[in-house]
Each structure stands twice: as C-alpha cells, then as structure tokens.
Assembly symmetry: C2
Homo-oligomer: 203 residues x 2
C-alpha cells in the first residue's frame, strides 16, 4: 500500500492557470499517492492571470502539514516577492516538506524566500533574468526543461510543469505510472530534461 503524501499548491492573485492545472491534472488521478490541497492567503476563490478562479482549501495560517509543496508562477509573483508573510510561509513549508516543486516564475518567488539558496534551479525563459535576480545564491541554469536537484525540482515555463510532474511521478512512484499518466491525458511527454526548445529566440 502506497503512502499518501499531502501536496500543497500555493495560489495567489494572478497565478498562471496552467502552471497549477497542468501538474494537478497529472497528480489528481493518483489519489493513492497524493492528496492535493490548495492554499492561499485568506483562502477562498483566487483569480488566475487568465481570469478563472480556483478555490483554495486552506488559508496559509490553517494549512495542515505538507509533505510536498508546489509553487506556480504567473505575473502575480512580481507582487508576492514583496509579501513578507508569504515568503516566511514559503521558507517554513519548503524546509518542512520532503519535496518542493516550482513551475515557471514560481522558482523566482521561492528563491526570494531563501529556500533555494545553494540549489540548482531553472525558470521560465521569458522571465529568466527576473527570476534569477530574486535568488543571487541560487545556481540558475537557463537551458533546461526542468532541474532535478533532489528535494527541489524546478521547471521552465508553464507547459514544462507537466513534463516535470511526470518526471517526479516517475522518480517517486515509477516510470510505468508516469508513462500511463501521460498516455491517459494524450500528452507527448518531453522526457529529456536537457532538451529545451524554448531557450533559443523564436524563429
């Protein structure tokens, strides 16, 4: 019997919709492995940058212990890097978790909390310099679909979060479960973290 781990996904105003819903599409159908909860300052409905709102299960202050933490990106990160209570929450929960994942500029937000200090990480290619500037003590790697640094797994922009999540499923549960999950959602999984088609300028 698999051990079910509680995965907390942080929401904030103007989070990027697919940064959250890509990974959760994959993880949401593995209930033996992951119990997914959404967490946001103040709880309740939180509006994405795209305009649709997801409903948070918990306020930051009443969040149950998390085994896994998922931090999305989106334009809202530009505001949240100035949000000291949120940064303190991130520091605390990133330390307590056994696995921390970020998508897109979520790595910039997490880096600003200090939690990525001394770690290797990547981010969205369009906002890479901004993300990198949030964590001067992080080893930033530009060319990567995702970076697996053990406890911390960070992905490139938006859709790369799906590839990273499938990698985490393969690593933590098994390759076959990840392949089946990708097939179920008819997703062509980019299995190689080193192949990054978006690092070059668009032709």
């Amino acid at each position: 019997m698999a051990e079910t781990r509680r995965l907390g996904t942080l929401l904030f105003p103007d989070f990027e919709l697919l940064d959250v819903c890509g990974p959760l599409e994959v993880l949401g159908v593995l209930p033996d492995h992951f119990e997914v909860v959404l967490v946001a300052e103040g709880g309740g409905a939180v509006r994405s940058f795209q305009g649709q709102s997801l409903v948070a299960d918990h306020d930051l202050d009443e969040c149950p212990p998390l085994d896994v933490l998922l931090v999305p990106g989106g334009l809202g990160t530009r505001r949240e890097v100035e949000n000291e209570p949120l940064l303190a929450w991130l520091r605390e929960h990133a330390q307590a978790a056994t696995l921390v994942m970020t998508v897109c500029t979520g790595s910039g937000l997490l880096a600003r909390s200090g939690a990525l200090d001394g770690r290797r990480a990547t981010s969205n290619k369009r906002a890479f310099d901004w993300a990198a500037s949030q964590g001067p003590n992080v080893e930033w790697i530009r060319r990567a679909r995702w970076i697996d640094d053990g406890k911390f797994v960070t992905s490139s922009g938006v859709s790369a979060g799906i590839d990273m999540t499938l990698h985490v499923v393969a690593r933590e549960i098994g390759r076959e479960v990840a392949e089946e999950a990708a097939w179920r959602i008819e997703y062509t999984w980019h299995r190689d973290a080193d192949v990054d088609p978006f690092v070059e300028p668009r032709r």
Copy 2:
C-alpha cells in the same frame, strides 16, 4: 480593432481539469479577442474530477449570449448525457454560437444533444466508443488530433484541446498569434491534426 467574442465554457461536476484549463490558458491571454465566461447549472464552484474547483460566472439560465461555446469532457459527461435540461441548453447555445469547440468526451456530450448531427467529429481515444455511441448521426473519426468541421471543432483527449485551441486561434485570428501563444506557454504545438500518436495501443 478586433471584435471581442464572448466564449462560454460549460462546467459540470467531474469535468476534466485540463480540458478546461488548457484551452483557457491560451485564450485567457487574448482579451482583445475573447471574453471568457464559465457557465454551470446552479453557478458557483464546480468540482473537477481531479478535485479542484473552478468558479462559474453564470448559471445556465442567466447566461449571456455566447459567440463561442467550449464543452470539456471528463467522467462527469457520463452523468450529464442523461441531464435533459443541460442537453436542451447545449442544443440552443450550440445553434446560436458561431463556433463550438469540444475537448475529449465533450464531443460525446454535445453529440447526445443532437447538435453534432451530420457533422464530422472526434473524441478521446480511451472513451471513443462511448462518445461515438452518443451520436449515431455523427461521422466519427478516430484517427485525429482534432477535427475542424467549420463551425464545430472537436479534439481528441485532454492535452489535444490545447492543440485544437491553437489551431482555432490560427484560423480565427492568425497563425502568428497562435505561434506566439504556444511559445509564451513553452508548449510544443502539434500543428498537424492528422498526426495522432494516441490512436494506437500504448507500447
């Protein structure tokens, strides 16, 4: 100046999260072209099959006129094909709209309403026979990432909805806008509707 079209996305309990959030990730950043609203019986928060809830903007009965209709799939379609008021709503709004898109088993639900009669359509490969059984007067095409039948554009499973949406953006707005949208979300767009890696059994 582009004409903004109102796009209504139907929600129902146990909709597939990415069927909705994939297309809306693309369309949600084209506000000059699409005003996106979420519609559901009773309005309010609607729980996806993955467990996370999106917040509907309108009840079915108070839905404003829609130029474009998006119907997702998910296990909830199995229940909704018996929901006569919903089927009547779909028939009416599919007729009134100038463009109707479905993702995954959303085509089965729409077919059950009769709106796809005489049209070419596709669906999820895992639930293809079920979807096809909902519309005996539809020309069902199994091998397709999506089917463009003019007013009705239907996609294969889950992730295929992103490819279909990019195709619709290219068709309705312009190829360059679609290419830029795909790049922005670091998504490797499957540009060829006839290439369908998921129609064969998984190796």
